[in-house]
């Protein structure tokens, strides 16, 4: 799992009507942590950047559905 996911564990009641999901995750994208973008960060190649949606490796944080098989490895 990407380092930009946080996990928490909600209370599970013995009387839950559905099978409980014990761990819940949420996204905390890199833009939350950086403040001003520092100079001289690592870049993707122009072709990669056009495909991914950012030039900067530090901001790359793709989302995959938990039900979807990831076709590409996390490049960060």
């Amino acid at each position: 799992m990407s380092s930009h996911r946080r996990v928490w564990y909600p209370y599970v009641s013995p009387f839950d009507p559905c099978p409980p999901i014990k761990a819940k995750a949420y996204s905390t994208p890199p833009s939350l942590f950086l403040g001003y973008q520092p100079p001289n960060l690592e870049q993707f190649t122009p072709m990669e950047a056009l495909k991914i949606g950012t030039l900067w490796k530090v901001f790359y944080d793709p989302w995959y559905s938990p039900y979807e098989v990831s076709t590409e490895e996390d490049q960060s």
């Binding site: 890199p30 991914i52 949606g53 950012t54 901001f59 944080d61 989302w63 995959y64 039900y67 979807e68």
Partner: protein, 189 residues
């Protein structure tokens, strides 16, 4: 003034006719946190924001229209060959009765677009915080649509759009930092 390039910002591929997905995606077309709302919000705020961040609002507002075009293409492709039965099964019969296969600015539940989705408060920090919130809400919406979608080609385009929301959020946060700085103070990098 704008210069139009007759191509999409990112190629839109759809693997199967799927009006159900079109119904979810229309949220990003005419929904409260959709691309239309974003574009109109930023391009309107920029007249009265401090001059250091006007260009940012222009750039991002313009890019939002490029995203709107991508969403429109996705919805169109998902819908264009659907039969009335498929449309009924997807819960789009109401849309079809009113609009046929045209797109329309309403959200996934069929509520029409309204200017009350956006705000211009006349206070730069307030406005930029709303913009950051809007980007995070759009990012979350993309997550839920990716979770709902079983179309790998479509998800590829949606992941690109979600990444752009992260970048926009970063740039708005930097704009807030610019406005927080004491005016006229020399900054040395």
């Amino acid at each position: 003034m704008w210069v139009y390039e007759k191509k999409l910002q990112y190629p839109v591929k759809v693997s199967a006719c799927n009006p159900m997905l079109a119904k979810f995606l229309i949220e990003q077309y005419g929904g409260a946190d959709g691309e239309l709302a974003a574009a109109l919000r930023y391009l309107n705020q920029r007249y009265t924001i401090p001059d250091k961040v006007i260009g940012l609002l222009t750039d991002i507002g313009t890019e939002e229209f490029a995203h709107l075009e991508m969403i429109a293409t996705m919805v169109y492709k998902l819908m264009k060959d659907a039969t009335p039965d498929q449309i009924k099964a997807a819960g789009l019969a109401g849309h079809y009765a009113d609009h046929g296969k045209d797109l329309f600015y309403h959200n996934a539940a069929g509520v029409p677009f309204t200017a009350t989705y956006i705000q211009a408060k006349g206070d730069p920090i307030t406005d930029l915080y709303e913009d950051i919130a809007a980007e995070e809400k759009a990012r979350a919406t993309y997550q839920w649509i990716i979770n709902l979608s079983d179309d790998p080609d479509l998800n590829d385009g949606l992941r690109f759009l979600r990444e752009r929301e992260i970048i926009h959020s970063q740039r708005f946060r930097e704009a807030v930092e610019i406005l927080k700085e004491e005016q006229g103070k020399k900054k040395i990098f």
